[in-house]
Structures are given as C-alpha cells and as structure tokens.
C-alpha cells in the first residue's frame, strides 16, 4: 500500500526478522523428513502384528513395572506409526521431530542401561525383542543406528521448513 512513498523512518522490519535459510535446505529437509517417516513406519509395522511379543520386548528391559509393560508395548507401534504419518504429510514437523528425538533418546538410554546391567536382550527395535544369548547382543550397533536416526530428527528440529509439507501449505 505505502510502497515507495514510505519515508525512511517508517520502515518496518520484515516480519519476525526471519533469518535467511539457504534454498537447498528445503528439498534436503523433505528427504530427511521422509527418511525418518520410513524409519518410524517400519518400526511400527514390525511391532504391530504380535501384541504379546511387543509386550515381552518391553518387559525384557526390566525397567518398567509389570502394570506398564503391556500399555507401553501395545501403544508404542501405534505411536511410531502416528509419527510416520505426521512426517509424511509434514504437519508440525518441528514438534514431531522433538517427540522423535525424545523417543529415540529413551530407546538409546534403555539399550545402554540393558548393556550396562549385563542383560542379554535384542532391543526389539524393529520387531522381535526379548532375551537372546549373550553372544548375540548387538548393543553398539543398535545405539549407533539410533544415533543416526537422532541426526535425522535433529536436522528437522533445526530446519523444520521442508518442501511439500502441510506446514508450508498452512503458512501459505
């Protein structure tokens, strides 16, 4: 409206003083978003088929009281699928990345604590889970893998704006 007529003193800073974000981060962010969605979707689907197995995978960590074992084991795959869905449509990406980070940190802490206590289990990260022979534990690989996923979530926490997302569409 004011256009060029606006006197110098009338100049308004651009809304919220957005820092400029390099253009290439948005397509990369989309790839990261979809990558993390695949991880959660895969993890959720792998755990959903057998509720008793999912509960036992949780029980084997020996961290939760028996009353919480089933609710956690039963809800977890659905939570993971919900995160996958939200990441695919790109809704509330920063928030979803935050929840993902918390969940992954919980997993890493759980695996680390099982390792530290000398319990021999399969993390049950992508189905399975429960006690295994001491020679078959893969704690380091499991933690490194989850750390890789944490990097994906961390990127989205930092740069949540991605191409083809509901967030972008909402922001217009």
């Amino acid at each position: 409206m004011a256009g060029p007529a606006a006197p110098p003193g009338d100049c308004v800073p651009t809304p919220a003083a957005r820092r400029t974000v390099p253009a290439w981060t948005q397509p990369l962010g989309t790839a990261v978003r979809l990558g993390l969605a695949v991880v959660w979707g895969w993890a959720g689907l792998a755990k959903i088929a057998d509720p008793a197995e999912a509960a036992q995978a949780v029980r084997a960590y020996e961290l939760l009281p028996e009353a919480l074992v089933k609710p956690v084991g039963h809800a977890l795959p659905f939570l993971e699928l919900a995160l996958a869905l939200l990441l695919v449509i790109g809704l509330g990406v920063r928030l979803v990345a935050g929840v993902s980070t918390l969940l992954l940190l919980t997993f890493v802490a759980g695996i680390g604590s099982a390792w530290a206590r000398g319990i021999s289990i399969d993390c049950g990260c992508f189905g399975g889970g429960g006690h295994v022979d001491a020679s078959q534990t893969e704690y380091l690989q499991e933690i490194l893998r989850d750390t890789g996923f944490l990097l994906l979530a961390g990127w989205l926490l930092w740069r949540p704006r991605t191409k083809f997302s509901a967030d972008g569409w909402l922001a217009g």
Binding site: P51, E66, H74, F78, V99, G130, V132
Partner: protein
Amino acid sequence: MDVKATSEKNREGKRNARERMQAQREADEAASRRRKKLIAGGSVFAVIAAAVVTGVIVQNQRSEPETPAAAPAGTTGDKNLVIPVGAANAPSVLTVYEDPRCPACGSFEREFSATIDQLEDQGKISTNAHIVSFIDRAVPGKGSKSGANALACAQDAGHFRDFHDVLYRNQPEETNDAFGDKAVLISLAKQVNGLDTPAFEACVNEDRYGGWVSSVQQDFDKSGYRSTPTVLLNGQPIYPKNGNDQITPANLAKWVDAANQGKQLGTPGSNGQTPAPTAAAPEANNPSPNAG
C-alpha cells in the same frame, strides 16, 4: 488559527492512521501465524494421543487371553498350561520348558529323552512340560507355534510323550521352518502308533490350540526364565548344571534317586500316555540330519 497549523495537524492524523493500520496488519498476521501454529501443534498432539489410546485398546483386544479358552485334555496348573507326563503321584517333579524349534532343546532331548522316559516309566518322576513357542519371534516362520499346537493335539489324543520324542528326533535346523508346514507334522505323527487320526489331523490343520499355545508362551514370558531348555528338578535348576555338577543322563538318574530316597514311587501310566516305543522309533524321516 492559521492554515499552516491545520495542515500540520492533518498530516499528523494521516500518519497516525497509517501507523495504526500497519500495526493492526502486523497484529493480524501475528495472530494468524499463532493460530496456524496452534492448529498444527494441536493436530499433532491429537494424532499422537489418538494413536496411543487406539494402540492400548486395539492391541489389548487383539491379544490372546492369558487364560486359554480351550486347553488340551489332561493339562494341569491353574490355567491348564502344563502337560503332565508320567505318574501323577511320583515323588519327584521334573519341569521342562521347551520350544519345538529350539536347537538346544533338540540336543537336550536327543541326549536325555530315553532316560527321562525311563524315569517316568519307573514311577520315579513326573514331568511338567511347558511348550514354549518363542523362537518364531527371532527366526522367520511359524514352526514353534504350529509345532506346539501339534503337541497339544497329541496330548489331546493321549500321545504327547511319543510325539514329543519323535518331533525332537526329527527337528530341522533352526532356520529351516519345516515344523511350520502342517503336512510335515502330520507325516511325523505317523511314527506314533494310533496318533494319526482324522481328529488329530483336523486339530493340527485348524490350529485348534493356537490360543492355548499363546497363553503358555505368555506365562513363560512372565516366568522369569529366559531361555529354553529350562529344566528344574523339584524346582531346582539342573540344566546345564546342578550346582557344580554337569548334567548327564547318569547324573540325572542319580539326582532323582537321591531326591526320592525313602519315598514311595508313583504308579506309572497314570497319565494315560501310551507306553513308549520311543527308543526304537525310526529317524529315517529326519528333514535335517545335522540339526542341533
């Protein structure tokens, strides 16, 4: 009042109006951004909360009950999860947790089944068999579950012990899901006199005791025992070692005799199991001679 003052006032009013409009627009934009953020955040929390609640309800409904709706004939324990073998009044109790697909159980059975059958037949022990089925969780296939169901069907027919011995002697390698094939289980049943009947075949084919198998497994999940075979003599773990002593067939017989000292032996055959031709049963059909 002069003209100059009026125009000054006018200009000031115009600027104020412009500033007010600008401020209003910014406030509107900020409010709209807040609203959109709230919508996105609220939707995220709604989706997550809905997923968690759905998960708890749906998976709980999909879970097999811990107390089975139907159990094979003659099973014991408060939920009928245990298959008893041998004289019910025998002085010692051997408790065995085994998965039909577990290689360590296979080697245990190949080494000890003749001795255990003999101790049962002498009325020295009764065995409480817990048929676990958790190998399927780690190795692709369903041999644990369908094998366990077939064992339940054999118990129903009064031939648990013989079929159990035949299964373990013909156990495939862990990665080979031969027991997942019901035809293989039925064909192995032919090695047990009188077991392979239409009733048994139907029981195997329709997975009649699938729910019971799941209940037994859930009981094992909660038992605190972590691997199979888990073997207890009168509640005391004896596999692979009893204290400092390695288990061997001779040691097992010795330990049982020591535990039974001065006690009345049981009445063999009181569980309705057929006498065992087990030691002589053929091993020709073994799908994997290298099993174990």
